[in-house]
Symmetry: C2
Subunit: 532 residues, 2 copies
């Protein structure tokens, strides 16, 4: 089929199935500027199972050719997507800012982060390490039995379903990390737009579709659908042609997709990033020497993006002391100076209010931001409790999505570690420590390694660097699969699996494991890493 | 606690929990020599939930210290296990041969394979690539925001439950591949012995326990339990202290464990190897030029170990032709010359008979081995059918564990590919091709890559080389997780997950990612692989 790409900036309100614009048949949703409660045109009609079937059929048809493209060809495709996103300029920034209520500056940064991620994976493709090339050469004279020639490389799993997240309308959405890593791996992508930013999703979907055409990729390499998670989303995850799922969102949504994928005739991997309260540990001397500064800086991280980061610091754990009192007072003063800012959607704002009410009922209110008449706004708040109460309360251990944080006061460093050990899995843990705290810090790190995907010192967990060493993941329930990351170059491994080739004739060997190393890869030859 | 190791060759009939011998409380099982139906003493009483609790408690207690041992220390531990296994000599070989009905020669080879696996992982530990070390150095002057110092390494998941398989009483059992890779990764192991070889399991468990003591590992690093899969096995998989599972066995058993693990409050990975019929494709010119030789060699692979290999060739797919007739006639003649050999257990022998009956009812009987009065014996058999019948029959597509194979006759090369594309996931696919078959072979490989873990040419799938490039795995239902392998050095990745360290003080950094590269590892610095 010929791809038809709408290159104008006018939003169509349509889905994109393998390059073709298609109008849905279901409920029509519209964007909403949460800062003003203004509805944003056009309407987007949700798709149905025929659209899921069409997108999956096209993705499956595209897979064979797409997975056979060279690393260089896919690198150029990813770069074309990045270029197209940036070329959208204010059109994209303004729409995403309006649909999310996030400041223009933040969204501008997020465009750069998104195109940066795509270019990072272009680099990963050119490096070629993702192939995992290994060769154990034949040993025809080995006794008692000769050894065959055995080679290994990684291949893509197949079409991947990507669920856009509400809180990063670009970096964790239609062209976000999951899409970038899946496309890099050689997997066609079917993205489900998040209803909170349908116009942004269309703009980004068109940028990807244009790149498909520009770089000659098969049309089914990318589709964009609109629909509810429990209906269209489940159809997508249970379609036999879909071979893996990327999701960022709520614990209930992620858990439902994991269960649906596990109940398939052929179960498939689901990478769901779900829930994290990101504990911050402030050790004794650090509290003593700079409790006031830390309290103020903490509020900066807590209120960033209305507290709607996956890595928002929802928990502070420390030994009760004058330093901690100073920290809390300083944080409280900073919170009193904040102005409530809009949350992503009315539903999220209502959930936040309910979460704050629950925390108020179960702990001590330390500080709250001034009230606001602005719609859907998030007023930051800090609560406190003691460690025993915390450990005995399910409510206090749950994530409240937004700028709310709970200070857990411990009796001593051992109880701090006990609290750490009792936590569920987390994306991050932060430690503030002075030199005199190093022994406590070492003991704490030993506990935290088993609880989180990223340990950071003397900073704040919000702001996830996109690079090669980043891990944005962690034990359940922060994610459904701790063995990988959703940010950074290691994410490509989510969508790959190894295949061995034994005595396969040279003419049929993929170039990554061919004789003479035509791709100039680092390969393990008999287990030793060489660029042969 | 002090480990007490029984160093005599006298079997105790006891479980081993963290170095202590413990007598079970449940049903008592005994080994059985299936070739003579002779019961083998002593009895082994199954454990109960208190034993699971004790083993898990000890494993969890050992984990912290065990995961902190150096790669070199764990390498020596694995080598000590290998040495201890070999030192058991005839005691181990004779008991395993008696309990399995497998020939002494085969068991002797399997001891070497098992100790070889352990030594392979010792080498993997010394190489250090398993750490996945990555460093993105700080960029304090970056604009608009400085970049933090971010480092990544892999850490072990935690205690691993390993289920011994019946068909390799050594290489896929108590000290088999799953145990070797989990111990290498830094995970304590709780092994569940297979009831078909309880004495072998005790001997091997004692060899591991002795190595724990010899190399100063914490006692809870290894435990050995006896029990039923649905009861004790499920308790083990659902214990919150167990963080991953390795299993080789039936599709029903594996599926049940996967479901139990997915239903946990914290779901965990299960690596279950379950079912594979290992299609063999014989292309036209190969059939024409060497159909008779191939038919004879095929029977050699089919009858190896009474057909009880996971990679046994249960399916032959080819274009119907005079060459195929020659192949089948030659295979039939070879089968007529075979003597039925004992299967592992009476249950397995009964299942084989039932499977042969089902194949007889649904297809054409081409050849069967002579009858035998020996107990529990497996008579090889070949059946045939046409492609349409095969594609329409669930019975014909199911694994029959033993020396039975089905020849599927196709009309042309396109139908051969259609049959390949319709198959469930497999561990292996074998292609026999002459130079003139290369175009067909290339098209077929393209289909097979998406179906199997290993593609091999001009050989036979039985005999899985233990090395760095091997993949013994594949899409569902051959395994529950196609992203890894159970044989070969890549298997260590099953039991690891990445952790990022951001601005962590140098004194607290693990050596794998420390400044100055004290472990002399290959590491990715800003994404580039260097031995810095």
């Amino acid at each position: 089929m010929t791809a038809t790409v709408n290159r104008t900036d006018t939003l169509t309100g349509q889905m994109i199935i393998a390059g073709t614009f298609v109008t849905g048949t279901g409920e029509t949703v519209r964007g909403l500027d949460p800062s003003t409660d203004t509805v944003l045109e056009p309407g987007y009609a949700h798709g149905d199972d025929t659209h899921v079937d069409a997108a999956c059929s096209q993705a499956a048809a595209a897979f064979d050719r797409y997975r056979s493209t060279t690393s260089e060809a896919r690198a150029r495709f990813l770069e074309a997507i990045a270029d197209n996103l940036e070329a959208l300029g204010d059109t994209l920034v303004n729409r995403a800012a309006a649909e999310s209520g996030l400041p223009v500056g933040r969204i501008t940064g997020e465009v750069g982060r998104t195109s940066g991620q795509l270019r990072l994976f272009a680099g990963v493709l050119r490096d070629g390490g993702w192939n995992g090339a290994r060769i154990d050469p034949a040993q025809p004279d080995r006794s008692p039995l000769p050894r065959a020639d055995i080679r290994q490389r990684k291949i893509p799993l197949g079409p991947v379903a990507v669920f856009g997240a509400s809180n990063f309308p670009l970096a964790f959405s239609v062209a976000g990390g999951d899409t970038a890593s899946a496309l890099a791996a050689g997997c066609p992508v079917i993205a489900k737009a998040h209803d909170a930013h349908p116009g942004t999703s269309e703009l980004v979907g068109r940028a990807i579709t244009a790149a498909v055409v520009q770089t000659g990729m098969p049309a089914g390499t990318f589709s964009l659908l609109y629909g509810h998670g429990p209906t269209l989303g489940t159809s997508l995850v249970t379609d036999p042609r879909v071979k893996a799922v990327g999701f960022t969102g709520s614990r209930s949504g992620g858990t439902a997709l994991v269960a649906a994928a596990a109940a398939r005739r052929e179960p498939i991997p689901v990478y769901a990033e779900m829930s994290s309260i990101n504990p911050v540990f402030v050790l004794d001397t650090a509290l003593q020497t700079r409790g006031a500064d830390l309290g103020k800086a903490f509020v900066g991280s807590l209120t960033l993006g209305s507290g709607q980061f996956c890595t928002n610091p929802g928990l502070v754990i420390a030994v009760d002391s004058p330093g901690l009192t100073t920290f809390v007072e300083s944080a409280g003063a900073a919170i009193a100076d904040t102005t409530p800012t809009p949350m992503l959607t009315p539903t999220i704002a209502n959930s936040y209010s309910a979460g704050v009410d629950a925390l108020s009922a179960a702990s001590t209110v330390e500080a709250q931001a001034p009230g606001s008449d602005a719609p859907n706004s998030c007023g930051a708040a800090i609560f406190s409790t003691d460690a025993d109460t915390f450990l005995g309360s399910e409510v206090l251990q749950q994530e409240v999505f937004g700028s709310a944080s709970l200070v857990v006061k411990c009796t001593d460093a051992a109880q701090v570690r006990d609290v750490a050990a009792a936590l569920e899995g987390q994306l991050t843990a932060t430690v503030h420590a002075d030199d005199a705290d190093m022994d406590d810090a070492a003991a704490l790190v030993n506990v935290l390694e088993l609880k989180v995907g990223r340990i950071l010192f003397d900073g704040w967990p919000t702001g996830v660097e996109v690079g090669h060493a980043m891990v944005h993941g962690g034990p359940y329930p922060s994610t459904s699969d701790s063995r990988s990351t959703s940010v950074g170059s290691l994410a490509i491994e989510r969508f790959l699996r190894p295949v061995a080739y034994q005595d396969v004739p040279p003419a049929l060997l993929p170039s990554a494991i061919a004789d003479g190393n035509p791709d100039r890869l680092w390969r393990r030859i008999d287990g030793r890493l060489v660029q042969d």
